[in-house]
Subunit: 507 residues, 2 copies
Amino acid sequence: MAGGEAKKPNAGGKKKEVKKETGLGLTNKKDENFGEWYSEVVVNGEMIEYYDISGCYILRPWTMSIWETMQEFFDAEIKKMKVKNCYFPLFVSSTVLEKEKDHIEGFAPEVAWVTRSGKSELEVPVAIRPTSETVMYPYYSKWIRGHRDLPLRLNQWCNVVRWEFSNPTPFIRSREFLWQEGHTAFATKDEADEEVLQILELYRRIYEEFLAIPVIKGKKSELEKFAGGLYTTSVEAYIPNTGRGVQGATSHCLGQNFAKMFEISFENEKGEKAMVWQNSWAYSTRTIGVMVMVHGDDKGLVLPPKVASVQVIVVPVPYKDANTQGIFDACTETVNTLSEAGIRAEADFRDNYSPGWKYSHWEMKGVPLRIEIGPKDLANNQVRAVRRDNSAKVDIPRASLVEQVKELLGNIQQNLFDVAKQKRDACVEIVKTWEEFIAALGKKKLILAPWCDEEEVEKDVKARTKGEMGAAKTLCSPFDQPELPEGTLCFASGKAAKKWTYWGRSY
Amino acid sequence: MAGGEAKKPNAGGKKKEVKKETGLGLTNKKDENFGEWYSEVVVNGEMIEYYDISGCYILRPWTMSIWETMQEFFDAEIKKMKVKNCYFPLFVSSTVLEKEKDHIEGFAPEVAWVTRSGKSELEVPVAIRPTSETVMYPYYSKWIRGHRDLPLRLNQWCNVVRWEFSNPTPFIRSREFLWQEGHTAFATKDEADEEVLQILELYRRIYEEFLAIPVIKGKKSELEKFAGGLYTTSVEAYIPNTGRGVQGATSHCLGQNFAKMFEISFENEKGEKAMVWQNSWAYSTRTIGVMVMVHGDDKGLVLPPKVASVQVIVVPVPYKDANTQGIFDACTETVNTLSEAGIRAEADFRDNYSPGWKYSHWEMKGVPLRIEIGPKDLANNQVRAVRRDNSAKVDIPRASLVEQVKELLGNIQQNLFDVAKQKRDACVEIVKTWEEFIAALGKKKLILAPWCDEEEVEKDVKARTKGEMGAAKTLCSPFDQPELPEGTLCFASGKAAKKWTYWGRSY
């Protein structure tokens, strides 16, 4: 609670409980103690409530409306690709879960087991899905007989559980989270490869077009790929404050590995038996955490207009002797005009808060644009607009309200992306030697280095950088590769480099 | 597998694998062995796949699109009522779960417990939500301080788990199911009472307007109300084949009971401390099972047009020397014309199935309207439309395709409702004595009887009708009460009757 004197309630009569203007701000600063700032901003911005079971969080309406906006976009896009929605059970039996060895090795320590119902022990414990490959694929085997049954493209929106014990963080690392998981089967590898990238492009659009966050498309290393898959592609975001990469979403080609384990074969056009090629792909509520981390500031959340459930908040600013009713009417009319134009606008008419308190409140919640209407605005037939992203103020004649607000919201969306990209790009450091690598890691950089692409070398880098803050690892090898002059050596092993790869600590 | 000779594949050359026209039908008949018929139709209609954990079912795309249609309607309606979506955790700790005694008594035997993660025993086991009252209300207590925080109206779309052991049935009684659960808090009982009925009306519309199923709105008895609530309202459907009622959806007023347990109080406008009034309300994927049971027939599913993901299936019927390409083009054009008019239409161009096989296939899947296009139709610039509900055939000039198809789909929707209502109404029997009651129960009737409304009497009726098929119980006391002449006696106790109540066996 920062200083400043509390307003005293008016004496006598019917007192309005005008709240103190202090006590609303954040006690932590983003650049000083990022972790505490993040916990505070997701709670004070009313996105998250901490729950009495560690690692589980309540997603409040302010969060869900963002999730639903992204869901609407993605669901419509995959339906255009002829993906269909389904719902498979939450539970999976141990025999099925353990069928694919690499896969279960990757997930086993985090699997939650139901062993009891009421007061009775279950005869056989059942696992809660950490992901649904093993839940679904026994049925793919049943449903797929001939080439005409292919492609089979299913998706589900659901919750999954990974009972992790390390560092739970709202949105970013939680024991239960919401996601979509797509699971597809094709007759040929080419079709599977093509879909992997189509989906990855949708994930890029979610980050860049909706959440205004720049991401890097690339391929994961062997060590970091999906357990049991053939190769993994991802979009990688970066949090400048912590210098950590964050895997934004993944689109995996599973190859024929699961097909073999689960006997998913089909008769091809020549009448021969063949194995299907499979993909799986997912993005989760983690997206929202990345958004908070990238755009938030010391005043609270900063929401990109495209995902904000309230894009414009209208605040009346009455003065003692002013025409209060006129101001209120102008606010209502402003909201109506904007709403009719498809802009998500609301007015805050509460009489127990001062305008200043309301400014702080809606700044905390990250509403992209605030419109203030006071006596002067009323007299001039204008409104005052204040941007959340850069605090810029502009007076808008009410006659051109819709166009100017639309333009402003577009500018805010673009500016958030541009600023985030600038900050991210400023953190990229190209290194060629181990010394440079260690120095860059110390400066929390997003490191781009020539690499020999050998699993043992990545393990070695991890071992050599182990420490309190976690080891460095590969984030991805970007599809957009800079030139790699012949003779370039791997920064870590000194062997011939095969590709440029991003390295860093990560979430 | 019914009789009939399989078509032999053409000799020589590139043989097309034209499938047998037999083997597609159902082996069970709805009126002969209803239970087996139901299991068969949900599987063969590709709505459900049985899962390797008993009581869990896979919801296939044919099911999910129906669920999504209802969800879109209901979600938009509750948003108009200012209800907001949220998401609370799947897990609940035992101390919180057990806080409301009546409530936990109702659910305890069915609660699934997670006791282990990976190979480690959890220090404290956690329960999986069977419903979310106890998950949510500790936070309502935190969020609600003053009258300005009310009403608080939240909803979530999620999965819940009730580990029942009796008679799992797809959609109707499963260990995991999908639903929405609304949880609201008000300053006054009047507001809560009003919302209970607003929501119940939405549930009626889902059944009657979307699923074409007549339901009875009413109030549950004390014995049958929600555990821990004040009173429960429901929409009750009825399955003539089994003579069982089925609780379609429930809208509960919880009163102040949970508010007391969870200390959900607020400062009212007079500055006094008061307890909130709460509601909770839910409908689930059970709706879809009721739809299958009511409308399905011996050829398979029958989907009401409003919820069918494919409303019109277009089947080309080429003959040997006919203009096959012309027929195919006409089919494509028909689909395009209908789609542009907002009708969900698809064509089945598969070359390895005969038209007859396709008819059976789409009848099994319940598509409301089939359009056939053969050489004669092509010549006459018409299509032949065949209704799924009553097999009526009509030739439609292509010039008036859209209007006539729209009208037909409207008629089908209405006819399904009318027929279902007629069948249900024919099963209603008014009884006044115990003898009449027992006779009606034996005839699987939906029994309307004058009742004294005493809990002990309902318990007694249950005890006296116990048997293989389950005991009779109250379904609801309809809001629409017939006249109850003074001096009418309770059919069961002989005491003065207080109201008319529906009785029967139920799901």
